[in-house]
């Protein structure tokens, strides 16, 4: 099963894609995706209900968040009410250890994304301040990466023994499906995804040319 774990819709300040258009695009272009995860910036989208789109297009559509920490951006899968009350998602300077700790406490998974990126990637901050305990999973393939950024991420994962996943980081419709994650097991819900990301039966994949 292949899921694109990192995408933004018009709910994000810089997102320009409606979720239905992502779905149409996936089907029209026959992309090998079974679903997508929406990771809106600095928020958890409690309003949108994509169940009808899931049925219409036969895709799994899940909601997560991309929060901003002192060690760069972090995707949080499995956001629930407890976690929303644990810290302020709108802040741009959340302590990474707080996000990791609270995510774990609330049954979610927090994973630094695009770690090879300057300023907002883990590598840069590790270089200055050292590694952070509790990081186990990072985005090793990101659709928006520039030259060398994914290489740094892969190296970081290797050096620290982190598991790696992939996501497109799409902000416009045609950028979905550049990177994704292949799971050995069936994923039908956010609970399944969180469970799978805690294990090792997945791999990051890329279709970037």
């Amino acid at each position: 099963m292949i899921l694109d774990l990192h995408n933004h819709s018009i709910k994000s300040d810089d997102g320009r894609a409606r979720v239905e258009n992502y779905c149409q695009w996936i089907r029209k272009r026959e992309l090998p995706l079974d679903g997508l995860v929406l990771t809106e910036h600095r928020q958890f989208d409690t309003e949108s209900d994509y169940r009808k789109l899931e049925d219409t297009y036969g895709l799994l559509i899940l909601k997560a968040s991309e929060v901003e920490t002192d060690y760069g951006h972090v995707l949080v899968f499995g956001v629930n009410e407890d976690l929303q009350n644990a810290f302020d998602f709108t802040r741009v300077d959340l302590p990474l250890d707080l996000v990791l700790r609270e995510a774990r406490r609330c049954g979610a998974v927090a994973a630094p994304c695009h770690p090879g990126r300057i300023n907002v990637g883990l590598c840069a901050h590790y270089g200055e301040r050292g590694a952070v305990e509790g990081v186990e999973l990072i985005e090793t393939l990101n659709g928006g990466s520039r030259s060398g950024e994914d290489d740094r991420a892969l190296e970081l994962a290797k050096d620290h023994g982190y598991r790696g996943f992939g996501g497109s980081d799409a902000h416009i419709v045609s950028h979905i499906g550049r990177c994704a994650t292949r799971f050995d097991d069936e994923i039908a819900s956010m609970d399944d995804l969180v469970q799978a990301l805690r294990g090792e039966r997945f791999e990051a994949i890329s279709w970037k040319s």
Partner: protein, 134 residues
């Protein structure tokens, strides 16, 4: 000639264009836009500002994308053009403008496009969307 709405399909690619972002052309644009700033029109002055060289003004990048759309469908009317300047496009570089149809609305007969400018390394420098009436 204007393209017929019925002939356009979701997923259609617009023909790519390698725009002329030579210094001469950027200076022409800057003069027309009353933007006589060294960061756009002089490599040395741009470097003195910490840039890798002179950069194409964001509003010129946006206008390059409008020209791409008109080339694909002459006579069409761009109703909205929304661009994000993610990273500089360098003057005298060889960028590529791309577009693709991401939605067709038969009720309003409007088309939505994704638009990008990528550099020689394939890195996206400008992303945008447009709503176009054919």
């Amino acid at each position: 000639m204007t393209r017929a709405f019925a002939s356009v399909e979701l997923g259609d690619d617009l023909p790519e264009v390698q725009p002329d972002v030579s210094m001469e052309n950027v200076r022409l644009f800057c003069a027309s836009a009353r933007m006589p700033f060294g960061r756009f029109t002089d490599h040395e002055k741009a470097r003195a500002e910490g840039l890798p060289g002179a950069i194409v003004p964001g509003i010129m990048s946006q206008a390059l994308l409008s020209a791409l759309v008109h080339r694909w469908s002459p006579g069409c009317r761009i109703e909205n053009m929304d661009t994000i300047f993610r990273a500089p496009v360098l003057v005298d570089s060889k960028p590529t403008c791309r577009g693709v149809v991401t939605n067709t609305d038969p009720e309003s007969e409007t088309i939505e496009l994704d638009l990008t400018i990528v550099n020689e390394a394939g890195e996206t420098r400008v992303v945008g969307t447009a709503q176009v009436r054919l």
